[in-house]
Structures are given as structure tokens and as C-alpha cells.
């Protein structure tokens, strides 16, 4: 599976930041269209990741020593 360029956490925080900026108001149309676009892209990417990406389990092959070495 291709690694995402950005972590889920980073994208989520970015979305939260845009929402905050919108809530504070004082954004002109040009800037808000860009942010709006970004926010919706982030939202759909995040939703997609939650729906489609599965967990992987790996077991370490190394044997963990249970006797102290002399």
C-alpha cells in the first residue's frame, strides 16, 4: 500500500486549523475559496483513509532472551 505523503494527524490538524480560521471570520473571498477547497479535499481524503486503509500486524522474529548471559 502506498504510504500517504502526510500523516493522518497532520492532515486532521490542518483541517481543524482551517475550520478555526473560518469560525474567526475576516477572510476575503479569494482566500476563503482556496481554504474551502483545501478543507473539503482534506475531509474527503481523511474519510477515505478511515474507510479503506487496513491495519497490518508484524511479529518480531528475534527471540527475546529469557536467561541472563554469563
Amino acid at each position: 500500500m502506498a504510504e500517504s505523503k502526510q500523516s493522518f494527524g497532520k492532515q486532521f490538524s490542518e483541517l481543524e486549523k482551517i475550520v478555526e480560521e473560518f469560525e474567526e471570520g475576516n477572510i476575503d473571498l479569494e482566500a476563503s475559496l482556496e481554504k474551502f477547497e483545501k478543507a473539503l479535499t482534506l475531509a474527503s481524503e481523511l474519510q477515505k483513509r478511515l474507510k479503506t486503509v487496513e491495519n497490518k500486524v508484524e511479529t518480531i522474529k528475534k527471540k527475546f532472551k529469557d536467561v541472563i548471559d554469563e
Binding site: 500523516s7 493522518f8 494527524g9 486532521f12 483541517l15 481543524e16 482551517i18 475550520v19 473560518f22 469560525e23 471570520g25 477572510i27 476575503d28 473571498l29 479569494e30 476563503s32 475559496l33 481554504k35 474551502f36 477547497e37 478543507a39 473539503l40 479535499t41 475531509a43 474527503s44 481523511l46 474519510q47 483513509r49 478511515l50 474507510k51 479503506t52 486503509v53 487496513e54 491495519n55 497490518k56 500486524v57 508484524e58 511479529t59 518480531i60 528475534k62 527475546f64 532472551k65 529469557d66 536467561v67 541472563i68 554469563e70
Partner: protein, 416 residues
């Protein structure tokens, strides 16, 4: 003396026996009662282990002893039979000690708890928070335990995209603490994970001994990676849990504490997307009303300046209107693309906002001053194709074009 008997020097024979015991007997597990416990030079631990019939001398280093040991305690040792190289004395070289019986274990538990507490290892301010969205999780538990299955199942239910790195360890019995400690050191040096889950199912004090041992408690405390520890049933508590950053009640609970719930996060994402759409709507309607009042002001100015520069004003108002219209139209197109992509997330909500945008564009079109032409105003163009804004722009005899709503009139200037 028989001549075929093998001849040794004393040192050679002691050396031979040491090797023989190590390879042919190796580490064995023996149970018995402690007697004659003492520590010399603050470094060496000596005691005997006995039953009704026999006694064995035991030896280990003080820093290897991770539990309270007293005469009369019943213990199980993991040890290799050995001879001291110098004295040739036989003894058991101890690798690990396990206490037997609730009484001894309870006593050891209380003493160690007091000691670690006094060192401040349980302090609230030592606890670190778990990353909000962990990507890799180190899972320290035994492979065959129900705890392993529970943790993986809960992690799969709650979150996606995780890499779970499982360190299979012994969670009980002699040597269990060492496997757990080396798993911690593995994660801290070779496989950097976001959070470590240390867990096992419930059991007696004897079963939980590894999780109450000093070496495991110190490994948890010393981990640079935050640790969630969940042991047994809700009533079971272990020292490892007190030291951990997050103390979970069960293996399942440890998994729940490690990652957020994706249903809840999906809901929050939809809510944020909705709120952004709502806020954009506000921006657009503010712009809408700003434009309306701007154009209205422009229009009344035109009327004031009918005499003078009406045509010029008209032209610039018309340019402004076209510009604004263009921007809104471009924006609308971009928004529409996203609205389509996100329709399933935001369901019907988007439609309404989309309609609002269209309505605002219609409104802008209606009040566009180019429509003023329809109301009898005209644009005058010179023969060079420039807007005539002053009588000085034309000369007598030159032809000019007058643009009306439904067409143009060509005429020649006879007087100015």
C-alpha cells in the same frame, strides 16, 4: 592406579567439570526454601535452597536480584550448576528467582511498591500523553494469549492504517521479566513505535509476578516511548501499571486507550466540512450584499453625473461588475467540483449552498449596469474604437458609433 585413567591438573579438572555441567546439565528450574540469605560486599548474594532431604548452595550478583528475598520463603530458581574456578566449590549460579505462595508475593509486592513510590515513579507528572493518532504500535505480550487476540481485534475495530509490531514474550514463569525487558529495549533502540502496549490476561499473584517485578517496572519507567499497561481483569493491579503512562483495566481497554474511535473521528470530519461550507456561505452572502450596495452607490453616482462623465462611469462600473462576476463564476466552478466529490459525506447539505451561490450570481447579473443600456443609456465610441468620454475626444467631420441595447448607430459629427 589404572594407567588408562585420564590425568588432570586440579585447574583442568575444575574447568572440565564447569564445561560439562554447563553443556550437559545447563539451566534447570528448582524449587525449595531459602535459608542462610546474606549479601557480601554489597555485591554478592549467597543463600541455600533446601527441602526435607537436601541443601544446595546458591550464588548470584546483587544487581541481578529483582525481588525481596528472606529466609523461610519458598522460591523457584532458574540456575546452572557450577564450580567456582578458585575454590572448586559446587553451587547453583542463579539466573532468575520466582517467589512461591501468596504470602511471600504479597510481601514482595508491598515492599517494591513502597520503594518505587518513594522514588517517585508513580507520580502523575511523569505520565506522558499518548499521540492523538498513533501510526505504529508496539505490542508486548505472549502470542498464544487471549490478550493478544483481544488487543488486535479492538485495534482493528477502532482505527485504520496502523502498523502493529508484536514482540512475542513470556508473560509468566522464570525468565518472563527478561523477555519483557529486552522487548522494551528492542522498541527503544531498533523499532521506534509511537506507543507501546504491555498486556496480559488475569491471573494469581504468582502468574502476575513478572508484571510486579522490579526489572519490568523499571523498563516501563525508563521507556522513551509512552507505555499503556493493562493487566488481567479489572480487579488485578500490577506495579507495571502504576509506572505506565496510561493504566488500562484490561487488555481490551489498553487497546481502546491507544487509538481513537474511527466512527467518532469520521463524524467530526463531516461536522468540520459542514461548518466550512456554512462559513463560506456567510462570506458569499456578505460579498453579495457588499456588491449590491456598491453597485447601487455607483448607479446613483451615474445619475448625479449624467451631464459629465456618465459614459466613463458606466464603463468602469461595467468593468467592475464583469470582474466580480468572473471571480464568483470561477469560484463557483471550483466549489461545484468539490461539492460533487463530497456529496456523499455532506449529503444534502451542499445542494442548498450550491443553490445559494447560483442565486447570488443571478442577482449579480440582474444588477449589472451593462443592462442600463436597455434602460436608454448609450455608449459612444470614436472612429478609433475608443470610448468617448469628453467632447475633446472627437473632431468635427469624424464618424462615431453609438451603442444601444439592441444595436449600433453610425453617425458623423457636425458640431461640438
Amino acid at each position: 592406579m589404572k594407567t588408562d585413567t585420564k590425568f588432570y591438573t586440579v585447574s583442568e579438572f575444575v574447568q572440565f567439570l564447569r564445561g560439562f555441567l554447563a553443556t550437559n546439565v545447563g539451566p534447570v528450574s528448582i524449587q525449595g526454601e531459602v535459608t542462610g540469605f546474606r549479601v557480601s560486599n554489597d555485591r554478592f548474594v549467597w543463600f541455600d535452597i533446601k527441602d526435607e532431604g537436601s541443601v544446595l548452595n546458591c550464588f548470584m550478583l546483587k544487581n541481578e536480584l529483582m525481588t525481596v528475598l528472606e529466609d523461610g520463603m519458598e522460591i523457584k530458581i532458574l540456575a546452572t550448576p557450577q564450580l567456582f574456578a578458585k575454590s572448586g566449590k559446587f553451587h547453583m549460579r542463579i539466573h532468575a528467582v520466582e517467589l512461591i505462595g501468596e504470602g511471600a508475593l504479597q510481601k514482595a509486592y508491598e515492599q517494591l511498591k513502597q520503594k518505587l513510590n518513594a522514588e517517585g515513579l508513580f507520580a502523575e507528572e511523569r505520565k506522558r500523553s499518548i499521540p492523538r493518532f498513533p501510526e505504529t504500535i508496539g505490542l508486548i505480550t505472549s502470542s498464544d494469549a487471549a490478550a493478544y487476540t483481544d488487543v488486535v481485534r479492538i485495534l482493528n475495530n477502532r482505527w485504520s492504517g496502523l502498523r502493529i509490531v508484536h514482540a512475542p514474550v513470556k508473560v509468566q514463569g522464570l525468565g518472563a521479566p527478561n523477555t519483557i525487558v529486552s522487548a522494551f529495549s528492542y522498541f527503544n533502540t531498533q523499532e521506534n513505535v509511537d506507543v507501546i502496549i504491555l498486556t496480559r490476561g488475569g491471573g494469581s499473584l504468582e502468574d502476575l509476578q513478572a508484571f510486579n517485578s522490579e526489572e519490568v517496572a523499571r523498563a516501563v519507567a525508563g521507556s522513551a516511548i509512552p507505555v499503556i499497561c493493562g493487566v488481567g481483569h479489572e480487579r488485578d493491579v500490577s506495579l507495571a501499571e502504576f509506572v505506565a503512562d496510561v493504566r488500562a483495566s484490561t487488555p481490551s481497554n489498553a487497546a481502546e486507550r491507544a487509538v481513537p474511535d474511527k466512527k467518532e473521528i469520521a463524524y467530526r470530519i463531516s461536522r468540520m466540512a459542514r461548518s466550512v461550507v456554512g462559513d463560506l456561505d456567510t462570506v458569499v452572502s456578505r460579498l453579495q450584499s457588499d456588491t449590491v450596495s456598491l453597485l447601487a452607490r455607483g448607479q446613483s453616482r451615474i445619475e448625479e453625473k449624467m451631464q459629465g462623465g456618465f459614459v466613463r462611469v458606466n464603463a468602469s462600473i461595467s468593468r467592475i461588475a464583469t470582474y466580480i462576476e468572473g471571480r464568483v463564476a470561477r469560484g463557483t466552478m471550483r466549489i461545484e467540483n468539490h461539492v460533487r466529490a463530497l456529496e456523499e459525506v455532506l449529503q444534502g447539505n451542499i445542494r442548498r449552498h450550491n443553490d445559494n451561490l447560483h442565486a447570488s450570481i443571478r442577482l449579480l447579473k440582474n444588477i449589472n449596469p451593462t443592462n442600463l443600456l436597455k434602460r436608454g443609456y448609450a455608449l459612444a465610441w470614436s472612429s478609433k474604437g475608443r470610448l468617448i468620454t469628453s467632447v475633446k475626444d472627437v473632431t468635427v467631420g469624424e464618424s462615431m458609433r453609438t451603442q444601444l441595447a439592441d444595436g449600433d448607430i453610425e453617425s458623423t459629427i457636425t458640431k461640438r
